[in-house]
Amino acid sequence: MGKGNITVLTDLNLITCIVQKGAADDIVKAAVAEGVQGGTIHYARGTGIRERLGILGVAIESEKEVINIVVSTEMTDKIFEAIYFAGKLDTPGMGIMYVTPLTKAATYIPPHLLRENEPS
C-alpha cells in the first residue's frame, strides 16, 4: 500500500437525462424520493427537435438541463422508471435519458462501511 488509502466503489451506473430548462428539479426530486443520493444539473442548449416539431416547436425550450445521477446497479431500473415518468419522456420533445455503465468511482464512504469491508 502507498501513502494513502482509496476505496473504490464498484457496481454503479450513470443515468444521464436531458430535459427542457426548468424540468430538472422535479426529476431530481422524484429520483431522490426513490433513494438516490443526489444529482448534478448543468445547463445546455439543444437543437433538432424544435425544428422538426413544426409550429409546436415554440413550446419546446431550446435551453436544456442535463441531469447526471450516479446510481447503484441494483437501483438503476427503479430510478430509470421514476425519471421516465416524472419527466414525461414519452411525450415528443420532452427529452431523452440513457444509462452508462461506470467502471469505478470514489467518494466519501461512511466509516462503518469501511470497517465492514476490511479484510479480517
Partner: protein, 568 residues
C-alpha cells in the same frame, strides 16, 4: 433448504412496468437523409402545450392574484361593499394575466434576440456616436412599448377636468405629448447611462446633477396653481418607465458597449444605475412638457363625457382602443430593431419563424393586457380607492358610512395601504433577483431577506404616506422635497455600491401590475376625498425604498467596520 434470492429491482421490473425493447437502428436508420417532421397525435400536442402554458400562466398569476384578491377581499370584508360589476372585473383580471403571460413570452422570443445581437455587434461595428443615437431611439421605442404606459391614458378618464384642467389635458387631448416626454426622458437617460458604462462614471454625482434641476423645476411648478397639479403626475412617470421592456433591452445594449470598450473600473456593478437615470429623467421632461402646454397650447376641457361613468364608457371601442394601443406600442419598436439589425449592423436574422411568433405574441399580449386593464384592474383599484374614505368619513352615496369611528377608520386605511405595498412588492419577481444580486455584490454582508424586507418596507411606508397625502389633501411638493432631501443626504453618506443598489431598488417595485393598480387607487381615493390630483403615491413608493435601503446599507457598513476593528 437453500435460500433463493431475487433482486427487488427485478421483481419491480417484472411486476410494475412493462418493458419493450426497440433497436435505435430502427428509430434512426442509416439512410443518410435528414429527418422530416415528427408526427404527433392530438393528445401529444396537448401534452406538449399544457406544461408550456401552465408554467407561464402560473408565473403571472402568482403576481396578480394575491394583489387583486387582497383588494377585493378588503372591499368585501372590511368595507362590506360588493365589488361592482364583479364578473367584468374578474374577466378583466384573467385577461390581464393572460395578456401579461403572452407578452412576456413574446418579449423573450421576439424582441430579446434583437437586443442581444444588436448589443453585441453594434459597438464592434460602429462608432460611439452611432451607438449613442441608436440607444436614444431605442430608449424611446422601448418606453412606448412598456405595458404600464397605457395606464396614463386610462387615468385620464378619472381626472376631473374642471378641477385640474392642465392635468386633464395632459392625460387626454395631449396625452401623446406626455408619453413622448416620458419616452424622450428615457432615451436621454439611456444615452447618459451608456456613457456612464463606457467611462465608468460613478452614479452619485449624476444623481445630484439630475436631482437639483428637477427639484428646481418642481418648486417652480408649485408656485403656479395649474402646474402644481401635474407635479404628482411627473414624479409618478419616473416609476412607470422602468418596466419589463426597457430594462432588459437597454441593459443588453449597455453591457455590450461597456464590454467592448474596456475600462479599468471593476465590472461588479455593471448594469446598475441605468434604472435610476431612467426614473429621474422623465420627471424633468414631463414637467417641461407641462410648462410648454401651459404656456403655448390651448386647454380644451370640453370633453366631460370621459368622466361620467367609468364602467359604462367601456364598450367595443375600448377593446378596439386596447388593440390599437398595442399595435402602436410594438410595431414601431420591432420595425426599428429589424432595420437596425439588417441595415445598420448587417447581421442576418436567425429563426425568423420563432421571432415572428414572438412578435405576434407580444402584440396579442399587450392588447389583451390593455383591455384587461380597462375592464379589470383599473375599475377594481378605482372602486377600492373611492370606498376607502367611507371608512372614516360620511359619503353620501353610502348609507351606513362611516363604517368606523374617525380614528379607527383612518388606521384601517393606513394599514390597508401599508400591507398593500408590502405584499405587492414581496410578490414582485424582480425583487428576488435583486436580493440575490445584492447579496453577491456585498459578499453576503447585506443578506437577501434583509434586502427584500427593506425594499418592501420602504414601498409599504411610501404607499402609506401617499395615502395620507390624499386623505389630508396636502400638496405633493411638501412630501417630495423633504423625502428626496433625506435620500440625498443618505446618498452623500453612503458609498458608491450602496448608492447604486438603493437607487435602482426603487425601480424594481413598479411592475406592470402595481403601477396601474396604485394609480387607479390614488385617483379613486382623491376623487372621493376631494383632493385635487390622485398622483404622487408612486413617487412616494419610489423614494422610500431608496431611504430604507440606504439606511440599512449604512447600518450594515457600520457593523462590518466594527467587526473589522474587533478582529484586529
Amino acid at each position: 433448504m437453500p435460500v433463493r434470492t431475487l433482486k427487488y429491482s427485478k421483481f419491480l421490473k417484472e411486476t410494475a412496468t412493462n418493458y419493450q425493447y426497440i433497436s435505435y437502428n430502427r428509430l434512426n436508420p442509416p439512410s443518410g437523409s435528414p429527418h422530416g417532421a415528427i408526427n404527433y397525435s392530438f393528445q401529444d400536442a396537448l401534452r406538449i402545450i399544457k406544461p408550456y402554458i401552465r408554467s407561464r400562466w402560473n408565473e403571472q398569476m402568482k403576481v396578480v392574484m394575491p394583489i387583486a384578491a387582497y383588494l377585493a377581499l378588503f372591499q368585501i370584508i372590511v368595507l362590506r361593499q360588493q365589488v361592482n360589476e364583479w364578473v367584468q372585473v374578474a374577466l378583466g383580471i384573467v385577461s390581464v394575466i393572460g395578456g401579461l403571460m403572452m407578452f412576456m413570452e413574446g418579449l423573450k422570443l421576439g424582441l430579446m434576440p434583437f437586443g442581444e445581437t444588436i448589443g453585441y455587434y453594434l459597438p464592434i461595428k460602429l462608432g460611439k456616436r452611432t451607438v449613442l443615437s441608436i440607444a436614444f431611439i431605442l430608449g424611446i421605442g422601448a418606453t412606448l412599448a412598456e405595458p404600464a404606459i397605457g395606464v396614463l391614458k386610462e387615468a385620464g378618464r378619472i381626472v376631473p377636468p374642471e378641477k385640474s384642467p392642465l392635468l386633464f389635458a395632459m392625460l387626454t387631448n395631449y396625452s401623446h405629448i406626455t408619453v413622448i416626454a416620458v419616452a424622450v426622458g428615457v432615451g436621454a437617460a439611456v444615452m447618459l447611462g451608456i456613457l456612464m458604462f463606457i467611462y465608468g462614471w460613478s452614479l452619485k454625482p449624476l444623481i445630484f446633477s439630475l436631482l437639483v434641476p428637477t427639484a428646481a423645476l418642481t418648486i417652480y411648478a408649485s408656485t403656479d396653481p395649474m402646474l402644481a397639479d401635474i407635479i404628482g403626475l411627473a414624479w409618478d412617470c419616473g416609476a412607470v418607465t422602468t418596466g419589463p421592456v426597457t430594462v432588459p433591452l437597454v441593459l443588453s445594449l449597455g453591457i455590450g458597449t461597456a464590454g467592448v470598450i474596456k475600462h479599468k473600473h471593476s465590472k461588479r456593478l455593471q448594469g446598475f444605475g441605468l434604472v435610476t437615470l431612467a426614473s429621474l429623467f422623465p420627471i424633468a421632461t414631463v414637467l417641461l412638457a407641462g410648462i410648454f402646454i401651459r404656456h403655448f397650447l390651448a386647454l380644451d376641457i370640453a370633453e366631460p363625457s370621459h368622466t361620467e361613468n367609468l364602467i359604462s364608457s367601456l364598450s367595443s371601442s375600448t377593446i378596439f382602443e386596447g388593440i390599437l394601443l398595442g399595435i402602436q406600442a410594438i410595431i414601431p419598436l420591432v420595425a426599428f430593431l429589424w432595420i437596425v439589425q439588417i441595415a445598420v449592423i448587417k447581421e442576418p436574422i436567425h429563426n425568423q419563424g420563432i421571432i415572428k411568433y414572438g412578435i405576434l405574441l407580444a402584440l396579442l399580449g399587450i392588447s389583451l393586457f390593455n383591455i384587461g386593464l380597462s375592464y379589470g384592474l383599473s375599475p377594481l383599484g378605482n372602486q377600492v380607492g373611492a370606498l376607502i374614505p367611507a371608512a372614516y368619513s360620511n359619503i353620501q352615496s353610502l348609507e351606513n358610512s362611516p363604517f368606523f369611528s374617525e380614528s379607527v377608520g383612518l388606521w384601517v386605511c393606513l394599514l390597508f395601504a401599508f400591507f398593500l405595498g408590502y405584499g405587492a412588492t414581496l410578490a414582485e419577481p424582480a425583487l428576488n433577483a435583486l436580493g440575490i444580486t445584492v447579496e453577491n455584490l456585498t459578499n453576503g454582508a447585506f443578506r437577501k431577506p434583509l434586502v427584500m424586507i427593506s425594499v418592501s418596507f420602504g414601498v409599504a411606508f411610501g404607499l402609506t404616506i401617499g395615502v395620507i397625502k390624499m386623505i389630508f389633501n396636502v400638496p405633493i411638493v411638501w412630501f417630495i422635497i423633504p423625502t428626496y432631501l433625506v435620500a440625498s443626504i443618505l446618498t452623500l453618506l453612503s458609498d458608491e455600491r450602496y448608492v447604486n443598489l438603493g437607487w435602482d431598488s426603487s425601480g424594481v417595485t413598479t411592475g406592470p401590475i402595481t403601477v396601474p393598480l396604485v394609480i387607479a387607487l390614488g385617483l379613486g381615493l382623491s376623487n372621493a376625498s376631494g383632493a385635487v390630483d390622485g398622483f404622487g403615491i408612486l413617487a412616494m413608493a419610489s423614494v422610500f425604498p431608496i431611504i430604507s435601503v440606504l439606511s440599512v446599507g449604512l447600518y450594515v457598513r457600520r457593523m462590518e467596520r466594527k467587526k473589522e476593528l474587533e478582529g484586529q
